[in-house]
Each structure stands twice: as C-alpha cells, then as structure tokens.
C-alpha cells in the first residue's frame, strides 16, 4: 500500500486512491467544484490543483492517483496562487447576487472565496450575458449567469439517473447548461440537481426565495416516503419565514452508502408538506351531536377509555378492531401491540389494508411500498394475528366489530370512500389517531392528533431490515403528541401503566423482547442505522 506525505503528514492508503481522497483521510480538504465523490472525475474546474514534488506542473488532486513516496503540497504559495486565480476566473462573469441567491450561506463559491482568496477583482469589463430563470422542468430553475460549468448536474443525470436530459451547449465563456429542445426534466431525481450544484445556478422551485438557509436548523432523519428509508436532513425552523406557515423548508439527502448514497427521489423529497398542511389535526376533539368540540387530552382519554370499556363489557375483545399504519415508528407500533393486543387481548389488529404496498417503484430508490416501516410492523407482529385489515373493515360493515381504532392509517385511500362510509357509519365507536385530517375522520367519535415524523423520535425498519433513527426537529404542532404517547395516555386512563418516558425506553424493550431486534442498542443505531441479522431471509 502506497505511503505518501501530504503537507508534512504521512498517510498510507489503498493503491488507486486519488490525492483528494488521501488528503481527506488526514482531514485536509482540498477545495474543488467539479469533483464529487459519487461522480467520475473530469478535471474541469481546476480548483483542486496541488503541487506534487518533482512535477513542474500543478496536478489535479481529484484525478491524480497516489504513488508510494509521493510528496504533496496542498497549501504552498504556488498552489494558493493557482487557487486564487481560478476563483478570480470563476467570479468575473458571475452576477454576485448573493443577497437574493437561495444558495447563499451554503455556496462553495462564497465559502472558498472567503477561505482562500478574498481578492479584489481587477475585472473592469462587461460581464457575459446569459439566460436567467430558465425553467428546466416542473421542479428546477436554472440561472446560467451563476453557473460555473462544473457539469456536476450533467454528469449526475448521465451517470446516476441515466436520463441525460442536460447538456452543455455552445462553448467558451458563452457555454451554458441546458435541456434539449422540447425535452424538459421529467425524472424522479431532479431535486438532487439543486444539491449537487455547488453554487446557486440550479435551484429547487420548492425552496426558491422561501427562506435564507442560515435561519434553518438541520436534524438527521429518515424519509417516510417509501420502504427504502433514505437518510435525510430535515431543514426547519419553529418560526415560519413566509406566509405559508411552513416550518419544514426542505429535505436534503444525508450520505449513506448502504441506503441512498447521496441522493433522494422527488416523491420522498417533496413529500413533507403534510407536516405543515392546514389539514393538520392540532387538538383532541370529540363528536357532540353533529359537531366536534376541542377538548383537552384528559377529557379525550377519559371519553375514549369509557366508551372502549363499555363495548368491552357489553361484547368481547373480538368486537374491537385496530388498524395501525406502517407509517408509524417501531416504538409507536410496539405500544399499539403491547396495549391493544397483549394487554387488552384484541386480535382484530392488522396493518395490511388492501393495496397498502402497491405504489409504483422506479427501480432505483423509490419502492412500490410507500411506507417507511412495513418491515418493522411485520417484525413487531402487527399482522397475522387475526384477520387482515381489509377483513376488519368488512367485519365493521357487517356489525361484528363495534369499535374501530385507526392509528395513523387512512383506509379510504386504499379502499375508496364508499366502502369506508358504509363500514365506519355502522360502528358504535370510531377513534381516529393521526396527524392529518382524512376521510375516516368524518366518522370518528374521537380524533386524537398525532405528531409527524419530524416532531418525534423513534426508529423505522426499512425493506433491507435496516433500523434507522428519526430525530425530533420540531415541537409537535398544537396539542399533537407522538403516537406512542397517546396510547400510553389512553392506557393509563384505563388503568394500565407503562414505564416509558422516551422512545429510547420502548426501544430497550423491543430489543429485549422482539426477535430480530435482540441485543440492539438505541445509541448504537446511530446516524447510519444498523441492519438486523434476520434468520431465514
């Protein structure tokens, strides 16, 4: 294995490693634009030039492979001069419109200029005019004057997505990124373009002019859009910065070699708007005649407890049905199982509504199963105890089930409104627990507001049986609570005590009791998740 010296520090790396990768091992960042660890090197931007001893010309760190005994300088005067000069070149025709650029604050031009150059430009000429506000498709806008022509976007679509919609047109200092005439971007990975663009040339319509990036907090989480469980950063703010009242401003990918590399699909990336949607359920409410009245949690719990108990006493556990959702966390689902099944002995409990896993997958990241925690629901035993969820609905329609408790699930979405109306209208008690209003709420006697994935902690288990953690980015909206806490409160009202203060406490019990999870430690799940060792596939 070659050993080399970079800025007086020795490092040993695998053969074939490039200088930029070797430097990274030493925590030396070599500035770059066109280089992207997941794309092929192209030597275009010339920002990563470094000096290699005994080679007269500076070398590109992104593509030059290390040799044994190589001596590299990443910060001497010769290198700094070249870097300053590349930055000056990149900025002469740039509009310098940082005050209104969405990338400001996370722009590699700003950052490297600040870190390495801070030159006063000697450019006195007219800047090149290029196209601005170019719609590349429904999601992405191009400002060619901000573009530094690193071709990351072009290469991403070629090498990763394979759709090749973008190209560089014309040449010299009038080169521009663009689409082929009449062929707008249509793929499901466009959002990544705004991420791979190191500057403000490609911006996402979803985020344009919505918020300055530095007002946003970032929290590690998992995309709830499908069973891949892409690792994300939730960018949010408790205080909304625009009139939409949104608190979540965007999701961006978090690297995970085992799951999503550095990418997100658009279905998942732009699927977060339900979090701050006006249809969020923000207070417990009870049906009084035809009206709903908002109540406090204690009142809601008491009423639901009393009515559940009434049905229990009059009939039997088999007159109750529970349909949880695979959108819930492992911890939520564990509570559902623990309480309704193991404590109250209800066996009409199942998450598999007909069609629950039949979206359209795309062969890359997006899976047909649009739920983040199907595997968790399966492993925790929320299916296969008694009838399937579809039958539970049917039994409700037939009057065999008198009380139906929906946890996070939206049965009308799969079964249609008519079917749900005919079933739910027959029940003596319908409880809807969840984050957003849906058709089933029309028939609910009690509505219990649940927190969304950005408002709670917990874990999901993805399709590869990887347990991954979501973290709380925002306070639950209004009075809403994490689903496990709602069940916990209801249980307590009914006289059952569970000693859980946090999701982590539940996870401990899952690790103790549920095969597959045994021995797991919440802390060790970490930011990248842990794959379960499942026997028998």
């Amino acid at each position: 294995m070659p050993t080399l010296v970079i800025d007086d520090q020795k490092v040993t790396v695998d053969p074939g490693t490039t200088i930029i990768q070797a430097a990274k091992k030493l925590d030396i960042t070599i500035p770059h634009y066109c280089y992207h660890p997941r794309l092929k090197s192209v030597d275009m931007c010339r920002m990563c030039l470094v000096e290699v001893k005994d080679i007269p010309k500076l070398q590109t760190a992104c593509s030059t492979q290390v040799r044994d005994n190589m001596v590299v300088f990443t910060n001497n005067q010769k290198v700094l001069d070249a870097r300053r000069s590349v930055l000056e070149f990149l900025l002469i025709n740039h509009p310098l419109d940082c005050p209104i650029c969405d990338k400001a604050g996370e722009c590699m031009l700003q950052d490297f200029y600040f870190q390495f150059s801070r030159h006063t430009s000697k450019f006195k000429e007219k800047k090149q005019k290029k196209h601005k506000v170019v719609n590349l498709g429904p999601k992405i806008v191009l400002d060619s004057e901000r573009c530094i022509l690193c071709a990351r976007c072009v290469r991403f679509l070629k090498e990763v997505v394979g759709t090749e919609e973008l190209g560089i047109f014309d040449r010299g200092d009038h080169s521009e990124i663009g689409i082929y005439p009449g062929r707008p971007l249509e793929n499901n990975y466009q959002g990544n373009l705004a991420d791979v663009c190191p500057v403000g040339a490609l911006t996402a319509k979803d985020f344009r002019f919505a918020c300055r990036s530095w007002f946003l907090c970032q929290e590690n989480s998992i995309c709830p859009g499908c069973s891949t469980g892409c690792n994300v950063l939730v960018h949010s703010s408790e205080r909304s910065y625009d009139k939409t009242l949104r608190r979540v401003y965007r999701l961006t990918p978090r690297d995970n070699d085992e799951v999503n590399q550095s990418w997100l699909c658009d279905v998942g990336r732009y699927g977060y708007h339900f979090v701050d949607d006006p249809d969020r359920l923000t207070a417990p409410s009870l049906k009084r005649g035809e009206e709903y009245v908002k109540v406090d949690w204690d009142t809601a719990f008491r009423e639901v407890a009393q009515r559940l108990r009434g049905i229990f006493e009059r009939y039997s556990p088999s007159s109750l049905g529970i349909i949880p959702s695979p959108q819930l966390t492992n911890e939520d689902l564990y509570m559902v199982k623990k309480f309704f099944n193991e404590t109250l002995c209800i066996t009409n409990i199942d998450f598999k509504l007909p069609g629950w896993n039949q979206g359209q997958g795309d062969g890359f990241l997006l899976k047909a199963d649009r739920n983040p925690n199907t595997m968790g629901a399966e492993l925790l035993g929320l299916s296969g105890i008694g009838p399937q969820a579809g039958e539970i609905i049917e039994k409700t329609r037939l009057g065999e089930i008198k009380a139906l408790y929906l946890v996070g699930s939206d049965p009308a979405r799969y079964l249609g409104e008519e079917k749900i109306a005919s079933a739910l209208s027959r029940a003596q008690l319908v409880v809807f627990q969840g984050s957003n209003y849906n058709y089933a709420c029309k028939f609910a006697h009690a509505i219990l507001p649940g927190a969304t994935f950005v408002e709670k902690e917990g874990t999901f288990t993805n399709a590869q049986a990887r347990v991954q953690k979501i973290n709380q980015a925002l306070r639950p909206l209004g009075e809403s609570l994490p689903d496990w806490k709602i069940i916990l409160g209801l249980a307590l009202t009914m006289g059952y005590y569970f000693p859980y203060k946090a999701a982590e406490d539940i996870f401990k019990d899952i690790a103790r009791e549920v095969t597959g999870f045994s021995g797991l430690d919440y802390k060790k799940v970490g930011d990248k998740g842990i794959k379960l060792a499942l026997s028998g596939g």
């Binding site: 275009m44 500076l58 000069s85 000697k122 450019f123 040449r171």
Partner: protein
C-alpha cells in the same frame, strides 16, 4: 536547394493520382515494409529517423508508437490529424491536395507496424479539396489492393476512412478530435488515460499529424539514418515543411532541413520582407508560439533551439511581421481567435481567454488603462500550465510574449488613448 522529399511532386500534373505516385516510386515502401520487414523493425526504423511529431508537440513518433500495448481487449486505431487549425499553418493541405497517396501509404505502413486494422483521417471541414483528393486516393488504393483484405497477399488487412471536421480549432487537439470522431461535442478528455491506452472507442489509439505520417514511406524506403541526416548538420531530425506567411515577398510552404536558421528561411527562401522593410516580429511555430523579436531570428528552426530561447517549433508555421505592423491589433486578432475557439471545459481558459480579449479590444479602441498590461500578464499566468489541455498555454503564450517583448508599443497605445 536540397533534394525535395515531401513536396517533390507538387506542381506535377495529376500528382494526386495513383499512377503518378507509383511512377515516382510510390508504394515501394509499403511493399518493403509488408513483405520484408517485421512490424517492430518498422518502428525501429522510424525511431532511428529522429522523426518528431509535426503537429505541434514534437513528440518522437517511434516512441509514441511503442506505447501502444501489443495485446488489447479493444481494437486499436490510427487517427491521422489533418485538422490543421493553427493560424499560420497550411502545410498538411499541400500534402493532401498534391500527394494524398503519400499520406495513405504512410498510414498503411504505420498501421501495419502497430497492428492496427482501422485508420481514420480527420480532416479540417473547410479543406474540401483535401477531403475529395483523399477519398479518391483511398478508393484507388482499395482498388489496387493496398487497402482492404489481404493486402499484397500478406493476410494483413486495413480499412481507412476520411472524416471531415465541422470547424473547431479545438478538434485538432488529439483527445477532442477523438470525441468528435466518436460523434460527440469536441472537447478534450482528461489524461490519463492517454489515447495510446484508451483512445478512440476506448481502444488504444495512435494520433499523428499528416506531415509526420507522410514522412514514414520515405523513412522506410531510404532508412531512418538517411532521414535523420537530412536535418541540418548537428541537428538531424529530417526535413520539415515550413509554411511562411505575413509580410514576405514569397509566402508559401518551404521544405527545408530541420534546423535551418529562421533568417535564412525568411530572406533566402521567402524572398525577404515586402517593400524591403525591416522585420519587427516573427512568430516561429504557429500562432501559439511565443513571438520573436528581430534580434532573435538567427535561431535555428528546430525543437531544441527554439525551446532554448523560450519559444517553440510548434507546427513550424512562420508568420513574419514588418516594422509597420500594429502589434496591439495583431494580438487582439490572435486573442479573439483563442477566446472564440476555447471549448469552455476548464475554468482558466474559458474565462481567461474571453477576459483577455475584452481587455486588448479596449486597449485597441484607445480605452486602455495603465494597469491593463499587468492584468493581461496576470491572467495569462493564471492560465499557463493550469488548464486541462494545452490550448490554455497556446492562448497565454502569445499574450505573455507580445506584452513582455513589445511592452513599449502597448504602453504607447494606452498613453495615446
């Protein structure tokens, strides 16, 4: 006047036809190579000849060929660079129009030496006559059994095709040429991998200039040593075509020993300066080569001598400028050319050439400022040695040399306003 090698048929009637070419001993070398020599002997002979690339970089031809791996998973290719885009250069055209079979024969021998079965000639699109002459020559060669299957009954086979370019200077750069030949936008590739390993359609590829390849039949026929000795005494390296343009009485292409002094070429062959004016400046090797002052024209026209005084032989194209030449305007024209032709792939050349063009245009218009000359030099320094392909240097060198060597003239322009 020494005996002509490359241009001996120029001016003869129907010199471009197979009949005339064969009458003058054409395709003898091919027979010798294929029937009497092993491929490696051909390479050895070319090695001995001291032949260095005539396209600009001056890389020894035999050495370049020896880089091609014997066994390769992909087919190997020969690509003849007939893009001839460097301003001032018009020598390859003379060969292609007058003696296309010389290039075809050279290409066959080269391909045989390296184990190549497909050759392309990438010709500057504007060279319509070269293109048709080459196509005709190739057809004649096929008909005569010099191309195609089982050449001269040896079992060796080779196909050859002409590919017209679409008019971009950068497509003369070897890797951009390969992209263009593959049907893509002509932009240089990064190196490594070098074309000798991964070239056209991913196969090992030899790229040589027209004139380089045209020398090969003569080397094979008469021996490498013979060719080397055609160079000036103590210099060697054979003969070379020197296209001479500018303010000379007899502009044209002159075939002379490598190492002939520049002054001799200008005064003895090109007839001296028009109107018997004085020389002010000479570009010795195509527009990219650093300009020479009149005091420097005793230099010998060979790779090492020119490098020693900070210029270069390049394509050997000599541009002579007399005492009345406006060097500010000249540099503006040159820089505008480079800015126009920059492919835009890498930052310094893309941004720097356009910037330099804007400054020099402003100076020419009388709006120059005293800081402009240092700015030009700073920009050129920022480009030089830091670009993806050598075109960055090609654009920087004229600026550096003009502004340094003739700074007074530029300053006067700025002062006059």
């Amino acid at each position: 006047m020494p005996e002509l090698v490359l241009t001996k048929n120029v001016g003869k009637k129907d010199s471009h036809t197979l009949g005339i070419y064969e009458q003058g001993g054409g395709y003898q070398a091919l027979k010798k190579a294929l029937l009497e020599m092993k491929p490696e002997d051909v390479i050895k002979e070319v090695d001995k000849s001291g032949l260095r690339g005539r396209g600009g970089a001056g890389f020894p031809a035999g050495k370049k060929w020896s880089f091609i791996p014997k066994e390769a998973p992909k087919p190997k290719y020969l690509t003849v660079n007939a893009d001839e885009g460097e301003p001032g250069t018009f020598k390859d055209r003379v060969i292609m129009e007058n003696d296309p079979h010389m290039l075809v024969e050279g290409s066959i021998i080269t391909s045989y030496a390296i184990g190549i079965y497909q050759a392309y000639i990438y010709v500057r699109g504007e060279y319509t006559r070269s293109i048709s002459r080459l196509e005709d020559a190739i057809n004649e060669a096929y008909a005569r059994g010099y191309l195609g299957k089982n050449i001269l009954d040896t079992g060796y086979y080779l196909d050859m095709a002409v590919h017209p370019g679409a008019g971009a200077y950068i497509c003369g750069e070897e890797t951009a040429l390969l992209e263009s030949l593959e049907g893509k936008k002509g932009q240089p590739r990064m190196k490594p991998p070098f074309p000798a390993i991964v070239g056209l359609f991913q196969g090992p590829t030899v790229i040589n200039n027209v004139e380089t390849i045209a020398c090969v039949p003569h080397i094979i026929k008469n021996g490498g040593e013979w060719f080397n000795n055609l160079g000036a005494p103590g210099v060697g390296g054979g003969i070379k075509l020197f296209p001479v343009s500018g303010h000379v009485k007899k502009p044209g292409v002159y075939e002379l020993p490598v190492g002939t002094p520049l002054r001799e070429i200008i005064y003895n062959y090109a007839g001296g300066v028009r109107g018997d004016k004085k020389v002010k400046a000479v570009i010795p090797g195509g527009s990219s080569a650093p300009v020479l002052k009149v005091e420097e024209i005793d230099v010998k026209m060979d790779f090492n001598s020119l490098a020693a005084i900070g210029s270069m032989m390049g394509s050997g194209a000599i541009i002579v400028m007399d005492e009345d030449t406006d060097l500010v305007k000249t540099l503006r024209i040159l820089i505008k050319f480079y800015a126009h032709e920059s492919c835009g792939k890498c930052t310094p050349c893309r941004e720097g050439t356009g910037w330099m063009a804007k400054i020099i245009t402003r100076i020419e218009k009388g709006q120059g400022e005293s800081s402009d000359l240092d700015a030009l030099l700073d920009i050129a320094n920022g480009i030089r040695g830091r670009t993806l392909c050598p075109m960055g240097d090609a654009a920087a060198m004229p600026v550096q040399s003009f502004v340094t060597k003739f700074r007074g003239e530029f300053e006067d322009y700025i002062k006059r306003g």
